[in-house]
C-alpha cells in the first residue's frame, strides 16, 4: 500500500510513468506558485521483451529523457533507481506508475448464469482493468467438453469465479468449480507458480471451495459479487484483483520486482488508471461522463452514469495492431462511407493491412490521414456498442414496469442514454495527435452521436493513466494538473434527436456570448455549424427544437443550458440522430465535403484537390 515519503504540502516534484506495450511514457510534474503543473514528457521503447527483459531499462531511458530536457536529476547515480524523496539536488518526492506491458492483465471469468453472476463477474474484472479472455457460464450454450478445451487453451493471469447468491445455488456452482479444477488452466507467465483465483460467489460454499481449489490455485475469497439478485457488489472482487495483480502477475513479469521497489504506490493496470481519470472528471463536474481511450491495439470505453462506473475493453479494436480487425468487424463499406473522395476498395484495404504490419508508421498525406480518421470513427462506434452490452441493468432483479415501458418493447438493456451523457472525453494517440483539434471533436461526435448539450474534452499529451494513479494518493495535485495541462476543452456539441428531410428547419439556438452579444442561429436538417467560443468561457444557450426534435425535455420542448467554450467552440449539429448520410454515393461525398469545409476540418486547398 501507498506510503508517502514526504508530507504532501512539502512535495515539489512528482514523476509518473506508464509502461505501455510498446512505449514507456514518463511525465514530470512540478509545484509552481500557481499550483501543480505538467513540465515535460519523456518517452522510450518498452523493454519487457528479449533481449532486454527488464522493464526498468525502458523506465530509466524515458526518465533520462526528462533529465536531459529539464536538467533536473532524478535517477540515482549508482543505478539503483529513482531517488525518492527529492534531496535538494536530485530526485522526486513521489513516483507512481501504471503498466500494460506484455498484454496487460488477462483474465478468465466464470459464473453460474451468463446474464447474472457471470455478467457481474465480467464487469468486476473489466472494472479492475483486465482484458477478459472468456466468460464461462453453466448456461453459455457450450457443451462441458468445449468449455474444458477452451479453459485449457487459455493462459490467463488470473481467474474470477462467481456464482449463486448468498444462501442460493450450491451444486451448480460447485460443478463450475470442479470443471475449472479438472481443466487445469496454466498461468501465462511461467509455469512455476500457482494460478491466482478469486472466489466471489455464494458465501455458504466457502469451505467446500477452499477444500477443492485451495491447494491447486492461489485462492482468495471475497464477498459475493451478487449477494442478492438486486445488488451487484463488485468492489471487493476488484480490490482483490488489484492486489493479486501486484503480488502474482506483476512480480512474474520481467523487471517488475525491481520496479515495484522503486514506487511507493501499487502499480496499476493502465486502463484502471485511465478509468480513475474518467471518474475524476465525473466527480469534479458532477456530471455523467462517457470516456474513451482509443489505442493502437484496444479501445477502452468508460462510463460514469449516475455515479455508476463501468469500463469495457474491446481488445481487438485499435488504430495500429488491430486496425484490420476494425475493418473486419465494421465492414470496409462502413469505413469508406466517411471518405469524401473516391478510393478503390482494394486500395483502402491494402493501406490498412500495411498499417497493421508496420504499426509505427504515420500518415504523411491528407488522404491517408482521412482514411485513418474514418477507421477511428468505426472503432469508436463499435467500442461504444460493445460498452452498451456491458453497461446494462441488473438482470434477474425485479424491475417495476409501467404501461409505457411495455409499449417501448420492454426495457432497453443498456442504461447508457446519449441524451443524458453530459461529457464526452477522449484519449489515445490518434485523438491526441490529430493535427487540428476539430478533427478529434468531429470524429468523437460522428462515432458516439451525442444528443442534447454535450461538453467535449480530450487528453492533451496522453497522461490520463498517470494522473489516474496519482489521484489515488494525491487527489489535489492530480486534479490541478488534469485541469490545467491535461484536459483540453474542445467545446460543446448541441444536437437534437430526430430526423427530417434535407433542408427542413430543425432548431433555433440563441447563444448569449460572453461579450453580451446574442447570436441566433437557425439550423436546417443536414447542416453543421461551428461557432467560436474560447476555452474557459461559457455561454448560455436556449435551444428551441421543431416538432419531432428533442434536446432533452421531449420533442419540440425548449431547453436552456450552458455551452462550454473550447479550442473548437460550439458545434451546432443538425445532421440527425441517428446521423444521416446520403445513400447515393456522389451525394454522400459532396455532403461530407460540405461538412468538412463548414467546420474547417482539413486544409481546404488540399481537400478540394482530393475530391
Amino acid at each position: 500500500m501507498a506510503r508517502l515519503r514526504k508530507p504532501k504540502e512539502e512535495m515539489k516534484y512528482i514523476l509518473a510513468t506508464d509502461v505501455g506495450s510498446t512505449t514507456t511514457k514518463a511525465r514530470f510534474f512540478e509545484r509552481k506558485p500557481e499550483g501543480w503543473r505538467f513540465v515535460i514528457a519523456g518517452e522510450a521503447p518498452t523493454t519487457v521483451e528479449a533481449p532486454y527483459e527488464d522493464v526498468t531499462l525502458g523506465v530509466r531511458n524515458a526518465v533520462r529523457e526528462v533529465e536531459e530536457l529539464t536538467g533536473h536529476k532524478i535517477l540515482a547515480e549508482d543505478g539503483s533507481g529513482i531517488v525518492v524523496p527529492f534531496d535538494g539536488e536530485r530526485g522526486v518526492d513521489l513516483y507512481c506508475t501504471t503498466s500494460s506491458a506484455g498484454g496487460g492483465l488477462q483474465m478468465m471469468v466464470a459464473g453460474l448464469i451468463k446474464t447474472m453472476t457471470a455478467e457481474s463477474a465480467n464487469r468486476a474484472a473489466l472494472g479492475a482493468g483486465a482484458i477478459v479472455m472468456d466468460v464461462i457460464a453453466q448456461d453459455d450454450g457450450r457443451p462441458v467438453y468445449k468449455k474444458i478445451q477452451r479453459i485449457r487453451s487459455l493462459r490467463p493471469d488470473m481467474i474470477l469465479l462467481a456464482g449463486g447468491t448468498d444462501g442460493g445455488a450450491t451444486t451448480h456452482v460447485m460443478e463450475i468449480a470442479e470443471m475449472l479444477k479438472a481443466a487445469e488452466p496454466k498461468p501465462r507467465l511461467g509455469l512455476g507458480y500457482k494460478l491466482p483465483i478469486v472466489y466471489a460467489g455464494n458465501r455458504d460454499l466457502r469451505p467446500q471451495i477452499k477444500k477443492l481449489l485451495g491447494e491447486v490455485f492461489a485462492l482468495t475469497i471475497v464477498d459475493n459479487i451478487r449477494p442478492v439478485l438486486e445488488v451487484e457488489n463488485t468492489e471487493p472482487a476488484r480490490r482483490a484483483i488489484h492486489e493479486l495483480f501486484m503480488e502474482h502477475v506483476m512480480s512474474h513479469a520481467p523487471g517488475y520486482l525491481k520496479l515495484m521497489k522503486w514506487t511507493d504506490i501499487d502499480i496499476m493496470p493502465t486502463p484502471a488508471g485511465e478509468g480513475m481519470a474518467m471518474q475524476l472528471i465525473a466527480k469534479v463536474f458532477e456530471k455523467n461522463v462517457l470516456g474513451v481511450g482509443l489505442g493502437g491495439a484496444t479501445t477502452n470505453v468508460y462510463s460514469v452514469f449516475e455515479g455508476k462506473f463501468v469500463r469495457s475493453v474491446s481488445a481487438n479494436l485499435g488504430m495500429s495492431y488491430s486496425i484490420c480487425n476494425v475493418m473486419k468487424t465494421a465492414g470496409i463499406e462502413n469505413i469508406m462511407r466517411w471518405l469524401p473522395f473516391e478510393m478503390d476498395e482494394e486500395e483502402v484495404a491494402s493501406r490498412l493491412m500495411n498499417k497493421m504490419i508496420r504499426p509505427t508508421t504515420i500518415p504523411q498525406t491528407l488522404d491517408d490521414l482521412i482514411v485513418e480518421h474514418s477507421v477511428a470513427r468505426e472503432a469508436l462506434r463499435l467500442g461504444l456498442e460493445h460498452h452498451k452490452t456491458i453497461a446494462t441493468r441488473l438482470k434477474g432483479a425485479k424491475i417495476e414496469r409501467t404501461i409505457s415501458d411495455m409499449f417501448e418493447q420492454a426495457l432497453a438493456e443498456t442504461y447508457i442514454d446519449l441524451m443524458k451523457i453530459d461529457i464526452i472525453a477522449g484519449t489515445g494517440g490518434l485523438l491526441s495527435h490529430a493535427p487540428r483539434r476539430v478533427q478529434s471533436m468531429l470524429i468523437l461526435t460522428d462515432a458516439f452521436q451525442p444528443e442534447g448539450i454535450t461538453w467535449m474534452f480530450q487528453d492533451s499529451v496522453f497522461m490520463m493513466p498517470h494522473l489516474g494513479v496519482l489521484s489515488t494518493v494525491y487527489w489535489e495535485a492530480a486534479w490541478q494538473i488534469f485541469d490545467k495541462d491535461c484536459l483540453v476543452r474542445l467545446g460543446t456539441v448541441i444536437a437534437p434527436r430526430g430526423v427530417a428531410n434535407k433542408g427542413d428547419p430543425v432548431m433555433t439556438v440563441e447563444i448569449e456570448m460572453p461579450n453580451g452579444e446574442t447570436l441566433t442561429e437557425e439550423m436546417h436538417f443536414g447542416e453543421i455549424k461551428r461557432i467560436e467560443l474560447p476555452e474557459r468561457e461559457e455561454a448560455k444557450v436556449t435551444i428551441s427544437p421543431r416538432r419531432g426534435f428533442d434536446v432533452g425535455r421531449g420533442p419540440g420542448k425548449r431547453v436552456e443550458g450552458t455551452a462550454m467554450g473550447g479550442v473548437v467552440g460550439i458545434l451546432l449539429d443538425a445532421r440527425g440522430r441517428p446521423l444521416q448520410l446520403p445513400e447515393n454515393d456522389k451525394e454522400r461525398r459532396e455532403t461530407l465535403l460540405k461538412w468538412f469545409l463548414d467546420i474547417d476540418m482539413y486544409p481546404e486547398d488540399k481537400l478540394r484537390e482530393l475530391v
Binding site: K181, E184, Y321, K328, T329, S350, M353, T361, D368, R436
Partner: protein, 385 residues
C-alpha cells in the same frame, strides 16, 4: 512541403527508427526449441541434428471427462461414493461400469459406464460428478533447422545453431515447413501466377516476384508446394484463400495447405532485389520456413532459413545495428513513396510540418532516381547491408 523557420539544424545520427527486415547471405542463426510444458530433452550439447530430429518430448495431461453420476443414477450427490465401483486412481476402459445402483431387491438397476479410457481422478459428494482423466497426449518438438546443439535447456528443449542465409518477411501465414528453394519467376517485378507452378514443385519453397495471385496459391496447394514467398498479395486474394479476413496479425496456426510469406506488404510490390537475388543464389538448397507473424508484443516476423557452409558472416557479434546516418540505405514504408528505396540524405532536428499539417521528425531521402524527398522518420526502415 513547408520547411521549419530559422537556421536549419541537422543531427549526425538518429536512434529512434524502425529496424529493417533481415536479408542476410550468411549469419549464425540460433533457434530455441522449447516444449510448452516440462518434459525430457533427447539431445545433448554438441550433437548434430537435422531438420526433423526430435529434440524434446513430453506428455500433455489428458483431457478430463466429467460424468454426472448422481444424475445418471437418480441419486443424491452425497450417496455417489457408496455406489461407485471404482475408486480414485483406478484405471478404466471405455464401457467399464464405474457406478452401479440397485434398489427394491434388484428391481431397479442402473449402471454408469465410462465414456472413455482413462483414470478416475475425483469423485465429488457435493455435485455427484466424477472426473475421468483421459490418457496423456505425447508432444514432441523437432529441431526445425539442421545444425549443432549449443545449449540444452533442462526439461524444456535445446538451442540449435547453424550457419545460414536468412530472409525475414513482413507478414505470413501457416507454420513451420521445409523444402527446396525454387525460383518460380525470372525477375522481382514478375507476378507469380498458376502458370508458373507445375507438379515438379511439390514440396518446394517457391519464390515469386511482385505479387502472388489467388490462382497461384490454389495451384500451389493442389500440387503440394510447401511454401510460397512473394513481394506482395492482394487483400481480397488473401481473404479468399484463407476463407476469412485477417483481423489481428497473429498468425502461424492457419491450416491452408501451404505456408505463405510476403516480403514487402499488401498490393503489388516488387520484391526487394536483395532478397530476390539472395534466393536466386541459393536455388536448389534445402531450407526451413515459417509464416508465423506476431506484430504486437515481441515482434515475430516470418522467415526463410537456408543452411549452408560456403561462406560465413564477416562481422561477428550482436546484431544491434548502429544508428541511422547520412548514407544509410533505407526503404520508405508508407504513402506517398511506399516501396521506394534510397539513402539518408540528411536528418533535420527540428520538427517539420507535413501535408497532414502534423509537425513530425523527418528525414531527407535521396531516392534511386536522384530525387530528394522528405518523409517522417517513422515511415522508413533501414535496409541492413
Amino acid at each position: 512541403m513547408p520547411k521549419a523557420k530559422g537556421k536549419r539544424r541537422v543531427s549526425r545520427e538518429a536512434y529512434a527508427y524502425t529496424p529493417g527486415l533481415k536479408v542476410k547471405r550468411a549469419m549464425l542463426v540460433r533457434k530455441m526449441r522449447r516444449l510448452p510444458i516440462p518434459g525430457k530433452v533427447l539431445v545433448e550439447e554438441g550433437d548434430e541434428v537435422d531438420f526433423k530430429t526430435i529434440v524434446a518430448r513430453t506428455e500433455l495431461a489428458g483431457e478430463p471427462e466429467i460424468v454426472k453420476v448422481a444424475l445418471l443414477l437418480g441419486i443424491e450427490p452425497e450417496d455417489v461414493p457408496r455406489y461407485m465401483m471404482k475408486k480414485v486412481g483406478d484405471e478404466v476402459k471405455e464401457g467399464d461400469i464405474i457406478a452401479h445402483y440397485r434398489a427394491f431387491f434388484g428391481l431397479i438397476k442402473r449402471d454408469v459406464v465410462s465414456p472413455v479410457d482413462g483414470v478416475i481422478e475425483s469423485i465429488s459428494d457435493i455435485t455427484g460428478q466424477v472426473v475421468i482423466r483421459k490418457p496423456p497426449v505425447p508432444l514432441e518438438v523437432d529441431a526445425y533447422i539442421p545444425g549443432k546443439v549449443v545449449e540444452v535447456l533442462p526439461n524444456e528443449g535445446a538451442v540449435i545453431e547453424t550457419n545460414a542465409a536468412f530472409v525475414q518477411g513482413i507478414f505470413g501465414i501457416g507454420g513451420e515447413t521445409h523444402g527446396v528453394i525454387k525460383m518460380a519467376v525470372d525477375s522481382p517485378d514478375e507476378e507469380l501466377t498458376a502458370d508458373h507452378i507445375s507438379d515438379d514443385d511439390k514440396g518446394a519453397i517457391l519464390v515469386g516476384g511482385s505479387l502472388v495471385t489467388l490462382d497461384a496459391l490454389r495451384k500451389g496447394v493442389e500440387v503440394g508446394v510447401s511454401c510460397i514467398v512473394a513481394g506482395g498479395i492482394r487483400h481480397r486474394d488473401l481473404t479468399e484463400f484463407m476463407g476469412e479476413e485477417i483481423g489481428v496479425a497473429i498468425t502461424g496456426h492457419e491450416e491452408v495447405g501451404l505456408t505463405l510469406i510476403i516480403t514487402e506488404g499488401f498490393g503489388r510490390l516488387r520484391m526487394s532485389r536483395r532478397a530476390f537475388n539472395l534466393f536466386k543464389s541459393f536455388d536448389g538448397y534445402k531450407a526451413a520456413a515459417n509464416g508465423a507473424t506476431q506484430i504486437r508484443a515481441g515482434v515475430m516476423r516470418p522467415e526463410v532459413i537456408i543452411p549452408h557452409s560456403e561462406f560465413y558472416e564477416e562481422k561477428s557479434g550482436d546484431e544491434l545495428a548502429a544508428g541511422m546516418v547520412p548514407g544509410t540505405p533505407v526503404r520508405i514504408i508508407r504513402a506517398p513513396y511506399f516501396g521506394a528505396i534510397g539513402r539518408v540524405h540528411s536528418l533535420p532536428i527540428d520538427l517539420q510540418q507535413v501535408e497532414t499539417e502534423s509537425y513530425v521528425r523527418v528525414l531527407e531521402v535521396e531516392l534511386e532516381d536522384g530525387r530528394i524527398v522528405t518523409v517522417p522518420r517513422a515511415n522508413v526502415e533501414i535496409i541492413e547491408e
